[in-house]
């Protein structure tokens, strides 16, 4: 009870405040942009070659304003926005009017979240374990080689890594497909074939994310571990003849993970805003492209839907980590 009042409640209030600020920012910033969704719609119509009678344009604009809910002052719109948000409704997409934003998101979201969830976790685990090993056994040649590889991969722009993989494994050695999340004609019923097919399509995007993610976590972990190995408890365990395996995993990596946990929470939260470049390079269905497109088409509702989801995701991730952190670090108390 006191835990709730003294710790959880203020923390949750802060959580809500942070989300409120973030949401308000994403509400306001697009409205400061020069793009106007009505204008964008009209441009879309005319740029494609459809001829709108110039005399009809003004009326058309009014109609669209009405339909898109963009009438009224900024503040009125803001009030309506919150009212809708509480019902879990982000409103209709403009570019895909009148399809609800939620529906569009739900088409793309599963693809990205599963891909990113798995790759984020995997690269975190692999990166930290390898980083821990390389940090502890830093005098061995293999540790140096690993470090060299990570140092080499880390700075390559992700786009290049991804494109390189794609060209290598989908083009020069056509092992993996070039496009999409599943094969043409797949039936979306749960079956082995479908799962294998989906894995096959997700393999390269996942690999690229894992390679880059792993090397990033590796480098940070390597640095953290170089400090941990000088800790007294490590030398004490060594003096006690504790096996290297035990020391690496239960002493070095275990303690080194603590600072990495918050980082994990942040990157897990980010899976809701997608991985734009991965999606673009591998033509992988996902929320990143959707977000990017919503920005360029001035689709406020869609853009806000996705960013708010992402803000809530990150904030919740951090909140959960804050609450469960004592499980990982018994020294931390709620204070």
């Amino acid at each position: 009870m006191t835990f709730f009042k003294r710790y959880l409640l203020p923390r949750i209030i802060q959580y809500l405040v942070v989300i409120f600020i973030g949401t308000t920012v994403v509400f306001v910033v697009p409205r400061l942009m020069p793009t106007d969704p009505i204008q964008q719609t009209i441009e879309r119509v005319t740029m494609q070659g459809t001829y709108i009678d110039p005399d009809a344009v003004e009326e058309l604009k009014e109609t669209l304003k009405e339909l898109y809910g963009l009438k009224g002052t900024l503040f009125e719109q803001y009030a309506i926005f919150w009212k809708r948000l509480f019902r879990g409704d982000f409103g209709p997409s403009f570019a895909q009017f009148p399809t609800p934003v939620m529906e569009l998101i739900s088409i793309s979201l599963p693809w990205t979240t599963i891909l990113l969830l798995l790759t984020t976790l995997l690269s975190w685990v692999i990166g930290n374990i390898l980083g821990g090993l390389a940090g502890y056994f830093s005098h061995y040649r293999w540790a140096r080689i690993l470090e060299g590889i990570a140092m080499f991969i880390r700075p390559i722009p992700y786009y290049i890594v991804a494109l390189g993989l794609l060209i290598l494994f989908a083009f020069i050695f056509p092992i993996f497909p070039v496009v999409g999340g599943a094969s043409i004609g797949s039936e979306f019923k749960l079956s082995w074939n479908l799962i294998i097919d989906i894995i096959e399509h997700a393999f390269l995007p996942a690999l690229s994310l894992i390679i880059v993610g792993t090397s990033t976590w590796f480098i940070t972990m390597r640095l953290i571990v170089s400090n941990i190995v000088t800790e007294d408890y490590v030398s004490y365990a060594q003096s006690g003849g504790v096996s290297n395996k035990e020391i690496v995993f239960h002493y070095v990596i275990r303690n080194g993970l603590l600072p990495q946990i918050t980082g994990l929470a942040l990157s897990l939260g980010q899976i809701f805003s997608g991985a734009l470049i991965t999606e673009q390079v591998f033509s992988y269905p996902g929320i990143g492209t959707l977000l990017y497109r919503s920005i360029s088409t001035g689709d406020y509702n869609l853009m806000m839907g996705i960013t708010i989801l992402s803000i809530i995701g990150i904030a919740t991730g951090v909140l959960i980590i804050d609450i469960v952190y004592p499980l990982f670090d018994p020294r931390i108390r709620y204070e």
């Binding site: 006191t2 835990f3 003294r6 710790y7 004592p326 108390r333 709620y334 204070e335």
Partner: protein
């Protein structure tokens, strides 16, 4: 009202820390209704001793104004120190009361030359502002602790031994000519032989500079050697207070007795005979309502577990124990 103003007058001081541990929150009364005073006009060395965690450091930090007491009053030269506000009053108080810390290596920023602290102190307190005046003020303070300015000039903390650093730390504190030094375990980190030289220094300062010292220690032998009065703390309360000769030669309180007996005598013929019982879960004792020592007391009586004992004055010594209450 005609009453003489004391140098330091502590009345019913209480400090409660709240620590929420997991789902349970606990309160620790680190300082529990402590009262004592130091007379002005004479200088003395006053020892605060007791087991670890009994609130000595907390008490010292309250007196120094680093933490706020939960309740109670501390009057320094008649001024309530919790009401000190503004830089001017603060500077006055810091000029009067200076601390000496336990770990001489931590007292100074290891990345800075030690003389910079002496210099800062002189300048900030407006003791001198011309270069040569500053130097002579520093030199003067250092002379009191038996070090010359040349010895320390331009050197970093790591270039000194613990004893030297502790002396420099004392010298720095003495620059403002304080009336009260609060020394929290000033010798626990230095070598056996240096320990005595610092104790001798305290004695010296008391006599020559008329400085009062609150000397906090575990080491009863040195406290016997340097101090005039001693207060024994146990779990936040002072269980026994009085002249050091009386208390350490003939302890009244059962805890003082155990404490006294646990001091290893540097004499192979006086090895410990009987065994003592160590408590395993100390927290429990904080929560009990009666005498906090009751769990470990060899003379425990029924009343001890129900009622907290009151102060009893006995032969110039004030003691908190039911054994003497009749």
């Amino acid at each position: 009202m005609g009453q003489e103003i004391k140098l330091l007058d502590i009345k019913n001081l209480v400090k409660v820390f709240t620590i929420g541990s997991g789902f349970v929150k606990s309160r620790i009364t680190a300082v529990d209704n402590v009262s004592f005073d130091l007379e002005s006009g004479r200088s003395e060395i006053f020892t605060l001793a007791g087991e670890s965690g009994s609130g000595k450091t907390t008490l010292a930090r309250i007196i120094l104004g680093f933490i706020e007491p939960t309740s109670g009053k501390i009057l320094y030269k008649g001024k309530n120190i919790t009401e000190i506000k503004g830089r001017k009053e603060e500077m006055w108080f810091m000029r009067e009361v200076q601390p000496i810390f336990q770990n001489p290596f931590e007292t100074f920023n290891p990345l800075k030359k030690v003389d910079s602290y002496l210099y800062e102190t002189v300048v900030n307190y407006g003791i001198a502002n011309k270069r040569e005046d500053i130097n002579s003020a520093i030199d003067e303070a250092l002379n009191l602790v038996g070090i010359s300015f040349q010895e320390i000039q331009g050197r970093y903390p790591h270039e000194f031994s613990g004893g030297q650093l502790q002396r420099i730390s004392i010298a720095r504190a003495l620059i403002t000519k304080p009336s009260l030094l609060i020394a929290d375990e000033p010798v626990s980190m230095v070598d056996a032989s240096l320990k005595m030289s610092i104790c001798n220094l305290f004695k010296d300062l008391k006599e020559k500079q008329k400085v009062n010292v609150i000397y906090i220690t575990h080491d009863l032998a040195t406290s016997y050697y340097v101090s005039d009065r001693i207060a024994i703390m146990f779990r936040g309360t002072i269980v026994e207070i009085g002249p050091v000769e009386k208390i350490l030669i003939d302890p009244k309180h059962p805890y003082t007795k155990i404490l006294r007996d646990s001091v290893p005598e540097p004499d192979p013929e006086k090895r410990w005979k009987e065994k003592i019982k160590l408590s395993s879960f100390e927290e429990r004792e904080f929560l009990s309502i009666g005498c906090k020592f009751a769990d470990r007391c060899p003379y425990v009586m029924d009343i001890c577990k129900k009622e907290a004992p009151n102060d009893i004055i006995l032969d110039g010594v004030t003691v908190k124990c039911h054994l003497y209450s009749s």
